[in-house]
Symmetry: C2
Subunit: 364 residues, 2 copies
């Protein structure tokens, strides 16, 4: 069938609350715009663990295995310490990234002028910011072996991890960056620490090689990771597509979240390899985490999750007009003053999670 | 003798220019405040390489070996590619950090209200920012073994590095942080990635252990490195002393540079272990690099280097009143409108490097 299969997994903390709103948005696109998709909801985390002994029960694993796209909420927080480490690990988000080989993590950083009052950066610095960080997500120090904790002969303990990249791992994520840049302002900035790390030396050499071989029409620059962190704050407008390894991407994308005005607004897509049918497994999730301090209060910002649906419409469903429609509806809602607590100015009216969902649906 | 020995090594790029101004400041303190020190100037980098075949010639190595404190300028830049990698490596800054075991790198982040017009962060975010990042400087992924580049059986190349910390390495740098916090607002924030890396698990456990054993009067918090990068931009005022490993400290301190208003203003101190005479080898340097694009033009900001002299007065010479005097002179110069190009508002008069030195000396 040509129906696209979407698994909806709210997860833990504020995940289920925000995902309930993006689920409403998905339903709207299915009903009103005839977007050909089937939705399957599934549970993840502490609740299924208490019922089944697994954070990722069979039914959820099956829903995700079958899906073309997974709409993911969040995981983690203090509650999760009720799950033993081994059970937690068996179904972890890192394990899922690895299982589905979701190597290209796209995090668009777009400043919302409507939000500049609550942002730490000056309006003139935020103005016009529009770039994408592509973070390699299935290798690097997150997965490198050997790793562990050992006791030394003198009784000390020593923790160790391995940072590593192979040329193929570098090429495929760099290719995603060059291809994306061609659809945008045609600029790639590759970030590494080649003045210190051999891993980064190979990274930089391979990016340069691929650029020369296939993408010499794209403008390519290189920054050391320390300088990149500074430049993201100093002048974020300079970037179009930034590509980097797993741990550097983790740090830089949170730093960049502030360059967009608010973490609660940011969507992400994690893409796997293209298979022989031209399909590409994808997981969409807001960049924010499970925010245990506000979980269950109905005040979380659902826009990161809703904008992740826009990425799903664009990348998995190949419906750019529908993605634009949704992104415009979010901007319309913001322009009309809709604010959850995290993006509200002092004294402004604060919408609940559901009311923000209403505001976006109202603008559609 | 009770004379403190200071080696003054300007190095490369803008290093010699800015160090010439901090040298004038040192001379002033020796002459006018009877600070008991002897100065020895020495060369480092491309120039001695061309004359002797070594970036770190014997005379310079000897001056640094003998010194209690080294006032360092900068190294690096495109010019340095004229030095073969092996010769460069033989005398590298990383090698010096390791040789003198300068494990505790202190980077104070203090916002200058006078500079808020040219800063990317809003004045109300910058206002009152005053914290210190302590970066572990002689271990972690910078020095971990094994490291290298290998060719795999399938012809691919693979780069790899080892992140690692032992309990003693963690304890000594954490101790510096707790001790410093006691002289300030009594708060330490330890930064790691313990949700992913075993190295960070040991880091966090050992910081908690030391805190319990000896520093339970100090308030201790923990942040994951991605969140820390965001918090530094979102609300830098929340921090007092932040302690972290080598690579995380490298990235976070550049990110924090923007939270202070300008990279050109930031000093640093790198401290070794206390020896049996109570002495502690130290290297003082501005946080900025060699800035090859403006080297030789006489427009670099010498305040990062001059404020490094204030750290030298405080930490090596134990002259807190003189350190305060110098820091106040810098604030007076700024308040009277003295600006080098990097911190000048559009249209404002720009001082040269020497004129900024004059302005500080004039305010002393
Ligand atoms: C929760 C954590 C393991 C994760 C990561 O480090 O990748 C998160 O920070 C992220 O960025 O998705
Ligand atoms: C030049 C480089 C090796 C150095 C580092 O990474 O330590 C620099 O960035 C610093 O922070 O002193």
């Amino acid at each position: 069938s040509n129906m696209v299969k979407v698994a909806v997994v709210g997860g833990e903390g504020i995940g289920p609350e925000v995902t309930a709103q993006s689920r409403r948005v998905l339903d709207w696109f299915a009903a009103k715009r005839n977007v050909p998709m089937t939705l399957r909801e599934a549970q993840y985390g502490l609740i299924p663990y208490l019922a089944t002994g697994k954070v990722l029960p069979e039914d959820t694993a099956e829903a995700m295995d079958e899906a073309d796209a997974i709409l993911w909420g969040a995981t983690g927080g203090p509650e999760t310490t009720k799950v033993p480490a081994a059970a937690r690990k068996a179904g972890s988000l890192l394990g899922l990234r690895s299982k589905y080989d979701l190597y290209a993590n796209l995090r668009p950083i777009v400043a919302s002028p409507a939000l500049s009052a609550s942002a730490p950066l000056k309006a003139e610095v935020l103005d016009g910011v529009d770039f994408v960080i592509i973070r390699e997500l299935t290798s690097g120090i997150y997965f490198g072996e050997p790793r562990g904790i050992e006791t030394l002969p003198d009784g000390q303990r020593r923790g160790f991890n391995t940072e590593q990249y192979t040329t193929n791992q570098i090429r495929r994520v760099a290719r995603s960056a060059f291809e994306l840049a061609r659809t945008r302002r045609n600029k790639v900035c590759s970030v590494d620490k080649a003045n210190v790390l051999e891993t980064s030396v190979v990274w930089r050499e391979e990016v340069i090689k691929l650029h020369k071989e296939e993408f010499s029409d794209v403008e390519l620059a290189h920054l050391y990771v320390d300088n990149a962190a500074m430049q993201i704050v100093r002048e974020p407008r300079q970037f179009d597509v930034m590509v980097t390894g797993n741990i550097f991407g983790d740090i830089l994308s949170d730093c960049a979240a502030m360059a967009s005005g608010s973490l609660g607004m940011l969507p992400s897509a994690s893409l796997g390899p293209v298979d022989r049918f031209g399909r590409r497994k994808a997981l969409y999730e807001p960049v924010h985490g499970s925010a245990p301090d506000i979980a269950g209060k109905g005040i979380a910002n659902p826009l990161g999750s809703i904008l992740s649906v826009a990425m799903l419409l664009r990348l998995t469903l190949n419906r750019p007009e529908d993605a634009d429609l949704l992104e415009k509806a979010v901007q319309t809602a913001l322009a009309s003053g809709a604010r959850t607590a995290d993006i509200a100015e002092a004294g402004a009216k604060k919408l609940s999670t559901v009311q923000m969902g209403d505001a976006v649906l109202g603008a559609l």
